[in-house]
Amino acid sequence: MDHFPTNWGRPRNDAYDAYNTYPLHHRPSAAPGHDKFADAVQRTQQPIVTGTSVLAIQYKDGIMMAADNLASYGSLARFKSIQRLHAVGTNTVLGASGDMSDFQYIQTLLDELVTDEFTHQDAHSLGPAEVHEYLARVMYSRRSKFDPLWNALLVGGFKDGKRFLAYVDLLGVTYSAPSLATGYGAHIAIPLLREVVDGRQDTLTEEDARKLLHDCMRVLFYRDARSLDKYQLAKVTESGVEISDSIKIETAWNFAEGIRGYGAQTQ
Amino acid sequence: MSIMQMNGGSVIAMVGKDCVAIASDLRLGNQSLGISSKFEKIFPMTDRVYVGLPGLATDVTTLHQQFRYRLNMYTIKEEREIEPETFAHLVSSTLYEKRFGPYFIEPVIAGLQKTPSGDLKPYIAATDLIGCLNFAKDFVVAGTASDKLFGVAEGLWEPDLEPEDLFETIAQTLLNAVDRDAYSGWGAVVYVLTKDKVIKRELKGRMD
């Protein structure tokens, strides 16, 4: 990108700034092919195509995770059937919010890792804890190069009879809790999740967990403008990873009828 | 550097058993340069209402005079002395009058309030610089060492302290808090208000 307006190809540069003591177009910097930024390294980006919240909870038999199917381009709902939950091996699921291209890069990294591990044939396989540790190192080392992978990730799994659920983001910050959420979910869904889950991880049934996440996804759809009424649910238990087909959220908007500015305008 | 921290200074008030205490440091500075170690920030408004005015030194004087004037007007009109709670509201409304060009002071009020039965009940309050009142059952703090005062007071204070114990508690709280604050210190003064007397004590403090 050329940041100097005088290089933007006006028909006649000398028509601009003509009365300056040292007119812009006389300056050496105005010579063609003199863009200081042209060969600069562009590393620190910003997220472009983004996914919104991911939610996850622990329950009796393992962990459950949910993320909607939308990838936004700014405020444009650009891709409406993107999958943001990714199985890693047989015991782990990864949920991503933030930049979707960075997420896809992370998927290739992990698939490569899983393949390498498999080809060793040493009776070891990567569990959720190992995947999380690996991701934390990747994310932290990228932030330390000032070239972050712009994501907030949730890693969940079940291996050797133990649940695992943890978070890692673009700064390399990690933590674990019975209920986790990224993005808007951390503000809107976490209070709802903590109320039900915290302290009851060992008794919460699959049915209750499923309903809880469904309700939270609905609240998020009502309140998060970058969300979609279509989401997928992943569960990881003793019997491995299961990622559902898309689930539709049923909504009711009749309340809007009586509110001016919401429904049809009736003075 | 913020105007609130230009001259430095801190005030604290605490409730005891049938008594209250209010205390402040004595420093006046210009940024990190100490100017005076005799700058009192606590003023008696009546025999049993005291106010502490930490903040911008010029506003300490202005507000003290403003309060004195308004208090005199109140006393003349009402033909009685003002109660601490009423005075707190007077402070609050005086400050809020200047909502968009405030005095840079966070007043602390301590006094003994007359109850309907004629007893005297401890009363303390503090406001921010635009007059948002904060009543507390235990203690209030203000000034450049306010976070330190909060920490020490929360650790040392207990309910129903007798006047001498309250004095020791507030003195220790203030002294140890201002010793960790570059903008407060250089001596301290403590007032303990009881039913029948007011005890004023000046304390030596670290001079560094």
């Binding site: 200081k36 932290y140 330390s144 000032f146 700064l171 910050v173 | 920490g151 010793d179």
Partner: protein, 252 residues
Amino acid sequence: MPDGSFSNPQQRQFNPYSDNGGTILAIAGADFTVIAGDTRQSEGYSIQTRYAPKVFRLTDRAVLAVNGFAADGNMFVKKVKQRLEWYRHAHAKDMPLRAIARLIQTMLYAQRFFPYYVYNILGGIEEDGSGAVYSFDPVGSYEREACRAAGAAQSLVQPFLDNQIYFKNQAAAPNQPHPAHLPLSDVLAIVIDSFTSATERHIEVGDGLEIYVVLAKGRSVQGLEGVRSIQELSTKSDGDRVFVIRRDLKKD
């Protein structure tokens, strides 16, 4: 610039740091040390988790508390532990406390121009059997002290410790000088009071409290009897010993 070049102008707005709140503190006794930290991890007004440890056992006589940016903190602890393991493999013994302190200063200063945004407090037992606390700034300045608080509520806790541990502003009774070191039970009470006070007045402090106690070799467990939810972490019972006490703090 990380690559050392200033020739190409670059636009930057990514901030590689964050502040994850919390508070830590350590107090040294004559033949013991107490190192404590709360377990809340937050960013802004959001509580990320109610249990993220900030205090770590390094050896049977050294405990490290880290506070500041959590990602840097965890990475730093990981690297210190790795260096201590290498030392163990090379010398067949644990690194002495004063050597760990110097190692930490070197590791922090190595990152002088892209610092670990972390305040460290190292506590434990010296080779002479005395309790010791070392405190560090993010780029490695350090000193040995009897007590230190760091983190979000440092300004609330440190003046309280000055008063209760160093007896600042307290005159000693005639012929009865202040003790140089307090007994363990008193120290534990002061630590718990410090954290309940900080929890009351600071939004980033709360949820849980982990208190590590390091006892010098041969010292009795006096002061720990009757303490609830205590757990021993030492690998040998005939050397310096490490214990951890877990308590709840208010969650609001």
